[in-house]
């Protein structure tokens, strides 16, 4: 993370303030736990389905099952990564409100806020990618007794690169909106 701090020009003081703010603000609720459980389940089912009984890239004729398996994993990733929203929105009066509406009036750099959120997104995606990678490799070894490039590439692209890029785009659009 220190390398990311250097690349993104993170201000240590403001990053620490934001860390403490969200720690103070965070209220645990059941939907938080549910999101993680449901997300994890979908990801797990999606991964197993993609690898067993076929490797997805050694396609037999029936693509439908493979695409369903991929969809499961994507839904699971999206559900799990909703945790990123803890740093952008909060619920109030049965509505979703943006932290930006409040941060706009305090001595906080918009850039440092974006850096903070991106770091959280990268951290979440990294943890998820690590878990899916281990999962994929374990299943591939157990069933096929080999590890192929796809077992590495799928987590690297599907659970890390694409979600991180998506967060980057969202932050960029948020900063342009003003």
């Amino acid at each position: 993370m220190k390398m990311i701090d250097r690349i993104l020009r993170a201000d240590e003081r403001q990053q620490k303030l934001l860390e403490e703010f969200f720690k103070e603000f965070a209220t645990w609720n059941w939907s938080d736990l549910g999101r993680k459980i449901v997300g994890g389940l979908f990801i797990g089912i999606g991964i197993i389905w993609q690898i067993f009984p076929w490797h997805w890239w050694e396609l037999p004729h029936d693509m439908t099952m493979i695409w369903m398996a991929v969809s499961f994993e994507i839904i699971g990733i999206g559900t799990y990564l909703r945790g990123y929203r803890d740093y952008t929105d909060y619920p109030e009066d049965q509505r979703i409100r943006s932290f930006d509406d409040i941060f706009a009036f305090i001595p906080l750099s918009g850039w440092q806020l974006s850096v903070f959120r991106l770091k959280k997104a990268i951290s979440l995606c990294f943890k998820l990618s690590a878990v899916t990678l281990v999962f994929q490799v374990m299943i591939a070894v157990a069933v096929y007794h080999e590890i192929t490039a796809g077992n590495i590439l799928l987590p690297a692209v599907g659970t890390f690169t694409i979600p991180v890029l998506s967060s980057l785009i969202e932050e960029y659009r948020s900063r342009r909106r003003g």
Partner: protein, 225 residues
């Protein structure tokens, strides 16, 4: 770089955004006074406030608060400004004290004792959730919060609209108390001409993104009629 003896300076500010923009606005505010900005709805009063507060607004020219450029040093400028408005949100499900606990760390000079003291003097319940407060209580809470970090510039955006007469007198007494030591100033917007003329020291008129010079309030009363 502006004159640090002035609280706020606008130097030929002209907006470059889609939609409504300020047009070549130039003025400066000295410490120790209440400045009023009048104009009809849509004249540009709130837009002017937005230019000061928002670092994503594009414009030519320069806006400086106590020598600090609001675009180039946005965080430092925000610590010098106290903004009070109905648009200034706090967390509705949290009490005044909880809101202060969350947001105060972002201000180097926030004085928690001062915040509590103002809350007591102005009769604001710091343990009521923000959304359950009346409009007047919310404005007093906001003012107590910003006063606690001693800004040099108080920006009040249409805060007196809809206030009852008793509270209006109380509110202006609070403002006079805050600027008594002449280290800060108030810039408030309003479309109520009589109030601005009677309660402020200097007044300017905003019309279609352009601003007149600040005149002494009594003198403006004779001019505008």
């Amino acid at each position: 770089m502006g004159d640090i003896n002035n609280i706020l300076e606008f130097h030929n500010v002209t907006g470059r955004n889609k939609g409504f923009n300020l047009k070549d606005v130039t003025f400066s505010l000295e410490p120790g006074f209440i400045y009023g900005l009048m104009g009809e709805n849509g004249a540009g009063k709130t837009t002017l406030m937005r230019y000061i507060m928002n670092d994503r607004v594009k414009y030519d020219g320069e806006i400086v608060v106590c020598g600090v450029n609001v675009l180039r040093q946005h965080e430092k400028a925000m610590s010098l400004i106290g903004y009070v408005s109905e648009d200034h949100l706090f967390f509705g499900d949290r009490t005044g004290m909880q809101n202060a606990t969350l947001l105060a760390p972002f201000y180097d000079d926030f004085d928690a004792e001062c915040f509590v003291d103002y809350g007591k003097r102005w009769d604001v319940s710091l343990h009521t959730t923000y959304k359950k407060m009346s409009r007047g209580e919310r404005l007093k809470l906001q003012l107590a919060f910003v006063a606690a970090y001693r800004p040099v510039l108080y920006l009040l955006d249409e805060v007196t609209a809809g206030m009852d007469p008793v509270f209006r007198i109380e509110f202006f007494d609070m403002l006079r108390e805050l600027i008594r030591d002449e280290s800060c100033s108030v810039l408030m917007t309003s479309h109520i001409q009589s109030e601005v003329e009677l309660k402020t020291d200097y007044v300017a008129v905003m019309r279609d993104g352009e601003m007149s010079d600040f005149l002494e309030s009594m003198e403006m009363g004779k001019t505008v009629g």
